[in-house]
């Protein structure tokens, strides 16, 4: 099984790069809103699980977005989801 996190981190960093043009609070909300709107719960979970990994380059705006709303990284998955 390949590691999902590096690609997800790259995608999240791209999102952060777009919103960086806005004031920080707005940017964090933008990143949060985008990930919540477009990413599946599993993708959010996979990235959240690796946010503390120092070897995974994650934009501070992404970290802030996950920190702002703990539920972003701990979504409810259907009971039958493995």
């Amino acid at each position: 099984m390949t590691d999902a996190a590096p690609k997800l981190a790259r995608m999240a960093n791209q999102i952060a790069a777009f919103f960086r043009s806005y004031p920080e609070e707005e940017a964090v909300k933008g990143v949060h809103g985008h990930i919540k709107s477009f990413w599946s719960p599993r993708m959010r979970l996979d990235l959240a699980a690796r946010l503390d990994d120092p070897d995974l380059p994650v934009d501070p705006l992404v970290r802030a977005a996950f920190a702002m709303d703990p539920e972003l990284g701990t979504p409810r998955l259907p009971a039958s989801t493995r």
């Binding site: 477009f38 990413w39 599993r42 259907p78």
Partner: protein, 947 residues
């Protein structure tokens, strides 16, 4: 049913506010000023005899058959070239006119073969009709004189024959090529009696003719006639339907003999095409009955096994039981599906319903993911709706046209012809494209500015254009004050005015001289109605969504949204890209672009469908493939799509498919994805079912069944069978009932019904109580989102960079004769124009690599390698190479990478760092392809035909 006969008024009916009243043959008639006497007569049901006139063309006045008498005027003027005037009294039938017309016809017939009974146009020949209309009974000139009866026949074009011995030199074909198509491939050679129609001194196939069929349609005799008509004879009934190729969505009359299609003739009443067509829609329909069609369901245990034909029950049962097994084993989210932009709205709606209601997740996506998903995101963020703003006819009122990343004369040919017509009328063109596309310079049209930017620098270029608008005081302040969010505008204006966005700064990134950018910006902002048209050269980038927003910013800043002649218009790739998006094919949106997390929208469907729906986004195509490789996504239902050929980084796609335990493909052919499938469900072509397509201008048009499905079922019925087998029965007897459900649940479709489509012909959404006949132009008084929102669009270079190993940039696209993955057009004579994908390379880059035209070259990127022939072309800029992706055996997407748009994951097809070198063999991937093209497509145990 009968053949649909469309009224030919001979010359166009003018659009003018002033009406003039005149008397024709004793009856009063009123027509718009500027309309000809001939057309005025036609509107009251009087057909003045004519040969050189047809209402798709301007009057020519050469045949002298349409003479009339007008009180107070001397002589017998031609009714086609005489404008109707107030109080005019016209007679179209007098003994004198009859005598004159018989004389004219006698001359025509004296040099025409009298083989009517065996002629391919027998019963469909205007010359024959006119001989009858004028009462010609004798030709006095004998047969011994000079004539053209031995003139040669040109059979070089695969779709039509030019039998010049039957030509009356009325010039309708020449004028159609000029006025309708805008190619100017035909001319009249010679003078006087020696005048003959010629495709520029060569044969049709070798000429600049693009086989649009306009000349064939315009020809009043059998001189230019479809080969299918020559072979089969005249059709006995016809049905109006909608083309299944590009996003223009042309209306055609499918002319039939029973269930056999004789020819496709563009309908004058089709508002997308107004009687015009291209080589694909007009002629390339043979795939529908090609021998490669799979018409029986098939299954296999492993993809290395040969396919086994089985009953529908067994195939559907296998698919359903496998999907349920996978969900029981790996979880409810381990399966998903893809809707098709080549299927109808109704079919697409059913697939997303199946996935949301029967699969129990939101893992539904569509091929719009890999083409125009950034359009949806960008236009929604700025304007409030995920669609283009205009109808196609609007371009006729544009004064300046900014064409970005689109090549309409190849990709959207019928719109390309409209565009060229407007340019010939004087509109001014700005082209932003790395390549010198045909519109930069072609007969009688040309771009005032060709901004030949480097691939990947769209945002920098658009920001530079907006910088000029803002810093040179070209902003439409009143428009912005009234229509836009002022805080967002001010923040954007500060950003865009920064020197980093100045053309002089971005020149280093875009490669476009600053002075050219400044001139183009001034033209766009001050040249009158300015319209933006764009294609996949905008969207298929890591900043695709940002580019769409940057275009919206530019249009809002100059007040160019909300009326005719302006706007932002995506040219959609496939026939129903717009519709598949509208129908809720994205994993985060229900039909009508409502987010799945919205309780109110979800409850509408939950109530109607009787099942709870998930409120979290599902997986997009690339996410499904990633999770498949990771071992979590195990099954997929693919209706009418071929991600193994069309999606980027082919080897990653096939690795994902290989990792799945159940791949179900529903298609016309065993496509590339089917090589990795376990269940094959034979689909139906657009000729075999009822439904609707929605084109790039939001126009919903009817698709009508003209023949029985070869497999016995339309695609929507197959989806119903699968849903039934999954324990979620769907009950529809006809697609109109599905549309009724769409209308009942989706506000922008609330007023749409098959009854209304029958009455109006087509409808542009939104169609509801506020706009019962539809909405040609969006955002007229206010933006859909309320205030237009300027977005900050910082240029961020793609991570895909050239370097020593991969020093060139590859960009991909399409050409006129082939369509998308080529599954349809490769199975037609269109392949005679494009038998293989080639690599276009600039002479400098070719020379430095020792490559000459026609050499086999290896094209390599970090994703993979392929071999293909080089075509040296100075259309390319140095450092940039180009190819198409129409042939599976070429494997263009083996080269493209998994980089994608930041907002939507739309792949970055347009920027791949590559190297090119000479080679003498296929790549390893291609060698494997050739082997697997046999080993993974074998069919054993064919069922008896009677079963």
């Amino acid at each position: 049913m009968a053949l649909i006969q469309e009224l030919d008024t001979g010359t166009p009916i003018r659009l003018a506010p002033l009406q003039v009243a005149l008397t024709i043959d004793g009856r009063q008639v009123s027509v718009p000023a500027g309309t000809s006497v001939m057309a005025a007569a036609a509107t009251m049901g009087t057909q003045v005899p004519k040969l050189c006139a047809t209402d798709s063309l301007e009057a020519f006045g050469s045949c002298r058959l349409c003479l009339v008498e007008i009180e107070g005027r001397r002589g017998t003027p031609a009714s086609c070239t005489t404008p109707a005037e107030e109080g005019m009294v016209v007679r179209t039938q007098t003994p004198k006119l009859a005598r004159l017309r018989r004389g004219v016809m006698e001359l025509y017939i004296s040099d025409h073969p009298l083989t009517c009974l065996t002629c391919s146009a027998n019963g469909d020949c205007e010359l024959q009709d006119m001989a009858g209309a004028v009462g010609l009974r004798d030709v006095r000139y004998g047969e011994g004189g000079a004539n053209h009866r031995d003139a040669p026949t040109d059979e070089s074009n695969p779709y039509f024959t030019f039998e010049s011995s039957k030509c009356i030199v009325c010039s309708r074909c020449v004028r159609a090529c000029e006025e309708v198509q805008g190619t100017f491939a035909l001319t009249i050679e010679g003078r006087g009696f020696a005048s003959r129609v010629s495709p520029g001194g060569t044969d049709f196939f070798g000429s600049e003719c693009v086989s649009c069929g306009a000349c064939v349609q315009a020809c009043p005799t059998a001189t230019l006639n479809e080969n299918s008509v020559i072979r089969m004879g005249k059709a006995e009934h016809s049905v109006i339907t909608t083309c299944a190729y590009c996003g223009v969505g042309c209306a055609f009359k499918a002319e039939m003999q029973g269930e056999q299609l004789v020819r496709m003739v563009p309908s004058k009443h089709g508002r997308a095409n107004e009687g015009h067509s291209c080589v694909k829609g007009r002629f390339a329909y043979g795939y529908a009955t090609h021998k490669d069609r799979i018409t029986k369901p098939m299954i296999r245990e492993r993809i290395t096994d040969p396919w086994r034909e089985v009953s529908w029950e067994e195939a559907i049962g296998r698919a359903a039981s496998e999907f349920r097994r996978i969900q029981a084993t790996y979880g409810v989210d381990a399966i998903g599906g893809l809707t098709s932009s080549r299927c109808t709205n109704e079919e697409t709606y059913l697939v997303q319903k199946l996935i949301r209601a029967a699969f129990g997740n939101n893992n539904v996506d569509t091929c719009a993911r890999v083409c125009h998903s950034p359009t949806g995101y960008g236009l929604n963020a700025t304007l409030g709706t995920s669609a283009g703003t205009q109808d196609f006819a609007s371009v006729g009122e544009a004064d300046v046209i900014l064409l970005i990343g689109a090549n309409p004369t190849d990709g959207h040919p019928v719109f390309g012809s409209r565009l060229k017509k407007r340019l010939r009328e004087g509109a001014r063109l700005i082209v932003a494209d790395p390549r010198r596309i045909d519109l930069v310079k072609s007969p009688h049209v040309g771009a005032e500015h060709h901004l030949a930017l480097r691939p990947g620098s769209n945002v920098a270029l658009l920001n530079a254009l907006s910088h000029v608008v803002v810093t040179e005081g070209l902003v439409d302040e009143a428009y912005i004050r009234e229509r836009c969010d002022l805080d967002a505008f001010e923040a954007w204006a500060r950003f865009i005015a920064d020197p980093r966005n100045a053309p002089e700064t971005s020149e280093n990134v875009t490669g476009v001289p600053a002075a050219e950018v400044r001139a183009a910006a001034r033209l766009y902002a001050t040249g009158g109605n300015a319209a933006i048209y764009y294609g996949l050269g905008v969207t298929e980038h890591s900043q695709g969504s940002t580019t769409v927003m940057a275009m919206a910013n530019l249009a809002m800043a100059t007040g160019n949204i909300g009326r005719r002649g302006v706007g932002i218009n995506p040219l959609r790739g496939q026939n129903n890209v717009q519709g598949s998006c509208d129908m809720g094919s994205f994993p985060h949106e229900l039909p009508g672009y409502r987010h799945v997390s919205g309780d109110a929208a979800r409850e509408i469907f939950e109530k109607l469908w009787g099942v709870g729906l998930r409120d979290d986004p599902g997986l997009r195509i690339p996410n499904m493939l990633d999770e498949a490789v990771q071992g979590r996504f195990k099954g997929i239902y693919v209706q009418g799509e071929d991600p193994a050929q069309s999606d980027p980084d082919t080897q990653h796609v096939t690795a994902g498919l290989l990792a799945m335990e159940c791949v179900v493909v529903q298609d016309l052919f065993l496509n590339e994805t089917a090589k990795y499938a376990h269940v094959f469900l034979p689909g139906s072509s657009f000729l075999e079912k009822d439904g609707t397509f929605t084109n790039a201008e939001r126009r919903i048009s009817p698709v009508r069944k003209v023949m029985s499905p070869l497999s016995g079922h339309a695609d929507w019925q197959i989806t119903m069978m699968l849903s039934d087998a999954l324990g979620y029965p769907m009950r529809y007897d006809h697609p109109s009932q599905i549309m009724d459900e769409i209308a009942a649940t989706t506000p922008s479709f609330a007023g749409v019904s098959y009854e209304k489509l029958e009455r109006l012909g087509s409808i542009q959404w939104p169609c509801n109580d506020a706009a019962p006949a539809g909405t040609p132009i969006m955002h007229v008084d206010r933006f859909v989102r309320g205030l237009g929102r300027f977005m900050i669009t910082e240029f961020i270079p793609t991570d895909e960079r050239t370097g020593a190993r991969f020093p060139l940039l590859l960009t991909t696209g399409r050409i006129l004769s082939q369509y998308n993955v080529g599954a349809q057009t490769r199975r037609t004579e269109n392949s005679r124009w494009h038998a293989e994908d080639v690599l276009e390379i600039h002479p400098f880059d070719a020379e430095s690599r020792g490559v000459v035209d026609g050499d086999l070259v290896a094209l390599e990127s970090r994703s993979g390698a392929i071999s293909l022939k080089a075509a040296i072309s100075d259309r390319m800029q140095p450092g940039v190479v180009y190819t198409t992706f129409h042939h599976a055996k070429t494997g263009a997407n083996v080269i493209t990478t998994d980089y994608s748009d930041w907002a939507t994951n739309c792949p970055e097809y347009k920027v791949t760092a590559v190297q090119v070198r000479r080679t003498n063999r296929p790549s390893d991937w291609q060698a494997r392809f050739y082997e697997e093209d046999f080993s993974l497509t074998r069919i054993a145990d064919r069922l008896d035909a009677a079963e």
